[in-house]
Symmetry: C2
């Protein structure tokens, strides 16, 4: 029986209500039969966000979740939620609603989805607890479209409560594992909605910028025949009667596309790291935003393109996603993200000097530890007032075999990382495009040449000089928003201990 | 020593040339030292596609590949290629070039990358073999930037030659395995460049259309804890001390996003099928363009959105990628892709009637075989003049357990496929959003409920009715262009027998 037909008999009403005295509103509420596409009614559903004084006194249909309900004598107040928007709805005994209908409405489990017909009424006093503050909905009909179970594993109001100290300390919040175990509910919060809409925006801005710059999007395989960088931290896949591996990065394929004359390529896709790291910023599967580009004479041509792409992302987010940023800030307060144009580029030796001045002891060819990265981020912020910068010319010793050595200083390399709020979000380099030098460097790193033969052979038929880098999407989202765990910015995070949901 | 400095001593010149008599042009040619970003010269490199009569008599620098070379007395004609564009270049003994320089130019291995300085000269007779037909380049300097090995595993001219019968039959073409084994070279052909630029365009148009429709892009995990659909055709991954699996589709995650109120979501990402199928249209890893959407009352709301998205892609391709389409057609002639607006939607029973009328014997609940799909495509084309249509209302028996049964006919389901040129490119359905019915259907299919617990639990806290589908990117590219093997439209295809490069 069509749920859409307002004249249909309501089914499955709780027995106690059915048994009660004659109910003059009995056609006006109930649990609908499952929507199986029985009909195509021409009913228009209005968005909750469109419920404003402009619609005052109109009769509208709304589909939304029951966020909260509160019965009070002959009335029941519901807060109806649709994504990040909500509106107050009133079911009151009168011409349209019987006391049975009010009771029915009051007993609908939170998070159930309902279709409501109501009159939009202007309110005299703003409703501070709702996004639609100037109107409420006077309910004439209410049907449950999808009933939620009575006990929720987490409360949405708890899930958006800021962690505060002092007076309000001790009010319920939701720990991360509970959130992740019940991700379908946790993702409904205004904070989660904002985080992942903004993340969608990052991908969009990344591609929009690169396509405008003449880049071509490529798709690279994730199942590969050999572990490219020596075999550490790689997941093994059973591939019919053999073994294969999950790609730790699309880099070799991006480079092949450069050797195949695509000149400027990008891709967005999963990257796999079988690393037993249980930190706030490591995942075993994350999303890589990857760039590779042929250049004319200097890899800084590429560094500038990548940095500009990130700057365009930051600007686009601040322009198009201000609502989302502010929504997240309500729960996780944070300074706005600052960046310079053009982007600050420091050489590794300059960073070393800054750290040493701050009392850190480090060798010239030593890599940055995580605490030193963070300290450096603070020092750079103090000195240059930017949350985003490039660190160029890393020691050759700490970079992969395919990194181009600096021709002016054999201990340095043409490689770079980029940082947001003191954490690395991109690693990149000029790659060696000469098969002979590549072979020498692979041998120097103790890599089995047989395993990278196809890679080296890619450069034997003419290869332009090129550079690139890979950006971690979840890290960019986390650091732009000033969040503290990459699991907050991965919808379904994977780490050594978590494979579900 | 900087390759960029035109005054530097050329290095590594073949001994016989170095030993020869005084060479007045010796600074004007040679093999450059490897570009290691030694300098940032302000030399501008002009694109080959910009070499037109508008630049006549200008001195320009060009970086390109040596496509062919042909020495002829005191002259050497080179064809210089940059992506799909090429131009004729002439090195002739005279003020700028010595006979040693001409000999050097003539001996540069094909596919090597060179930097050339030359004067653009208008030609009297069009050069039919080049894209830049009205000019040639009179070379003043030529330096090899990256030297190709002398023996190429395949010839680019062979690789773009159409397979023809009759008079020209027997001229060399390149077989598919040779192409794929040497993909870096095969991807340089004008055909490959066009195919993959158009494919990049498909992704761009898909996202552009959906973002305009209010969809949110999501990222879904590829490593999953349980094989969702009974465990067949799934790749196993070693995950630390346990096993995990590669996702056969992002569907369950898309659905969770719908249950999490994102309403309209899409994703583009790899999809894995451990299927030992060695056909023209199966890959073990392909790219899925996935859509999922909550609807109000009828799943046709979603079908219309998906069909319109595909139509927008077709229109965008025909508008923005006409050059690429024509380039591919030169090698693989094909009728332009035809489609209707709105898209033709046939019910499965109508298709059965058409097939039966054509002499095919099929049961009401039997799935379409590949030959019957193709035949149906021809019948539909004859009758409706469209290469794209929707087949709706598949028999419930041939669809997965989560498919919503048709409330009006228990043997049918609210599911659909979409076809291009008679081959399936999308499969989709209204999904069951009710945990009780979902459980029943899973049991009916003999699925272990324990393995899909998290999936079913996603629907316990209020779930809107929703539908969606998954599109195979490589198939869309193949069928739009009228190609005949999905390996032509996957840059680095994976099948049971191929894991490299």
């Amino acid at each position: 029986m069509p749920s859409a037909s307002a004249s249909r008999k309501s089914q499955e009403k709780p027995r106690e209500i059915m048994d009660a005295a004659e109910d003059y509103a009995k056609e006006r509420y109930g649990v609908s039969s499952m929507i199986q596409s029985q009909d195509k009614p021409d009913r228009v559903l209005v968005r909750v966000s469109d419920l404003t004084v402009h619609k005052a006194d109109e009769v509208v249909w709304v589909r939304a979740r029951v966020h909260t309900s509160r019965a009070k004598g002959k009335q029941c107040f519901l807060v109806l939620r649709q994504q990040q928007f909500n509106v107050q709805a009133l079911v009151a005994v009168g011409d349209h609603a019987s006391k049975q209908m009010v009771k029915f409405a009051a007993n609908i489990n939170k998070e159930s989805i309902v279709d409501v017909e109501g009159v939009v009424r202007k309110v005299n006093q703003k409703i501070g607890s709702c996004t639609q503050q100037d109107v409420e909905l006077h309910v004439q009909k209410i049907y449950v479209i999808s009933l939620a179970e009575p006990r929720l594993p987490l409360q949405l109001d708890d899930a958006v409560r800021p962690e505060v100290e002092g007076e309000e300390e001790g009010r319920a919040t939701v720990n991360q594992d509970t959130r992740l175990d019940n991700r379908v509910i946790d993702l409904r919060t205004s904070t989660s909605q904002a985080v992942f809409r903004l993340q969608s925006g990052i991908c969009h801005l990344f591609r929009e910028t690169l396509i405008n710059k003449g880049f071509v999007e490529i798709q690279t395989p994730k199942i590969i025949s050999a572990a490219s960088e020596g075999g550490a931290n790689v997941f093994t896949v059973s591939y019919f009667k053999n073994n294969a591996y999950l790609a730790q990065s699309p880099q070799l394929y991006k480079q092949m596309c450069i050797c195949a004359d695509f000149e400027k390529v990008f891709c967005i896709g999963p990257v796999f790291r079988a690393e037993d790291s249980n930190t706030h910023r490591h995942l075993t599967e994350f999303v890589g935003l990857d760039i590779e580009m042929a250049f004319n004479y200097h890899y800084h041509e590429v560094v500038e393109e990548i940095a500009d792409t990130l700057v365009q992302i930051f600007k686009g987010l601040q322009k198009r996603f201000q609502t989302e940023i502010q929504t997240v800030n309500k729960q996780f307060p944070c300074e706005p993200f600052k960046f310079l144009e053009p982007t600050l580029r420091l050489e590794y030796c300059e960073a070393l000097a800054m750290l040493r001045e701050a009392g850190i002891e480090m060798g010239d060819e030593e890599d940055l530890s995580t605490p030193n990265e963070k300290l450096l981020g603070r020092l750079v912020k103090e000195k240059y007032d930017t949350d985003f910068y490039i660190l160029d010319k890393y020691p050759l010793a700490v970079r992969p075999f395919y990194t181009m050595p600096d021709p002016r200083n054999p201990k340095q390399s043409n490689s770079y990382d980029m940082f947001m709020r003191g954490e690395e979000i991109l690693s990149g380099a000029q790659r060696i495009h000469d098969p002979q030098l590549l072979t020498e460097r692979a041998l120097h790193h103790g890599i089995d040449l047989e395993k990278i033969k196809a890679y080296i052979d890619s450069f034997r038929f003419g290869a332009p000089p090129h550079a690139g880098g890979g950006i971690g999407l979840e890290r960019v989202t986390m650091l732009f928003l000033g969040l503290h765990n990459v699991r907050q910015t991965s919808m379904f995070p994977r780490d050594p201990k978590r494979l579900t949901p």
